[in-house]
């Protein structure tokens, strides 16, 4: 499988969350993911992009950059915003921690559960970068890391 990438940029409008899901699903189809794995990827991306829309840019739309790439059978997804930022990432990762009373604080939990790897970098008032990786479970033996569950 040749290495491939896709870089996207779009405004943080709610309707672009579904678009991001569709793009990532189409791109991920280049690897041999099962349908269930593609579903997991769609959820993880939906959470990451929704967070940009809701938390990074609560007042008006800002720029979201989504970078997808495939190297050695591993799908990498980077979601970057230039918004509000997260003060305490470890706290944000706790289930049920949310700065929004209407929300469940499950987004980061889903990203962590559904992907093999999750890394978050954030600087308050400058923005947040989320990097997630996943490889097809079938090809597990060949890849450089095992499933974190």
């Amino acid at each position: 499988m040749a290495n491939n990438y896709l870089k996207l940029e779009f405004p943080s409008l709610p309707e672009n969350v579904g678009l991001a899901r569709a793009v990532v699903a189409a791109f991920a189809a280049h690897l041999e993911f099962t349908l269930a794995e593609i579903e997991e990827i769609r959820v993880a991306v939906s959470e990451a992009v929704s967070n940009c829309v809701i938390h990074a840019y609560p007042d008006k739309a800002g720029v979201i950059q989504l970078e997808l790439s495939i190297h050695a059978d591993i799908l990498s997804i980077q979601v970057k915003d230039f918004g509000k930022g997260i003060i305490d990432i470890e706290q944000a990762k706790q289930a049920t921690f949310s700065t929004d009373p209407e929300r469940m604080g499950l987004g980061l939990v889903f990203m962590e559960s559904f992907m093999n790897h999750l890394q978050i970098q954030s600087i308050p008032l400058q923005g947040t970068t989320v990097v997630m990786k996943k490889h097809p479970e079938r090809g597990l033996a060949d890849a450089g890391f095992s499933r974190s569950s």
């Binding site: 579904g18 269930a36 829309v53 809701i54 987004g107």
Partner: protein, 114 residues
């Protein structure tokens, strides 16, 4: 997303079609809360998830919100036609502890009479 509701006794059956996410969850909340406000008789919610193509934490959040509301009045929520994928996110979210799963409308209604 398409959403349809039907009242059967003390139950509101809500059939959702499409994607339940950030964009569509507010509509789900408005439609269901509208019915709950209108019909005092409704105690239980039965969610028909057969045609739900996608659900993430935004969708689960509005379901939890409806559970909290009904639970205060002694009501409950059940879900029918639940795919493995959706069962998975319900479980991870903890919602599976409070939502009862049945195969179909018949099973859910039978249980709500108890």
């Amino acid at each position: 997303m398409l959403i349809q509701t039907e009242r059967v006794g003390a139950n509101l059956i809500v059939t959702v079609e499409g994607e339940l996410d950030l964009v569509t969850s507010p509509t789900f909340r408005e439609v269901v809360d509208g019915k709950l406000n209108h019909y005092d008789a409704i105690k239980h919610l039965i969610l028909d998830l057969k045609k739900v193509e996608f659900i993430d934490s935004s969708g689960l959040g509005v379901i939890l919100g409806r559970f909290r509301r009904l639970n205060q009045l002694g009501g409950k929520i059940s879900a029918i036609h639940v795919s493995d994928q959706i069962k998975r996110v319900l479980q991870l979210s903890g919602l599976l502890k409070v939502i009862e799963i049945y195969d179909d409308r018949h099973g859910a209604l039978e249980n709500s009479w108890r």
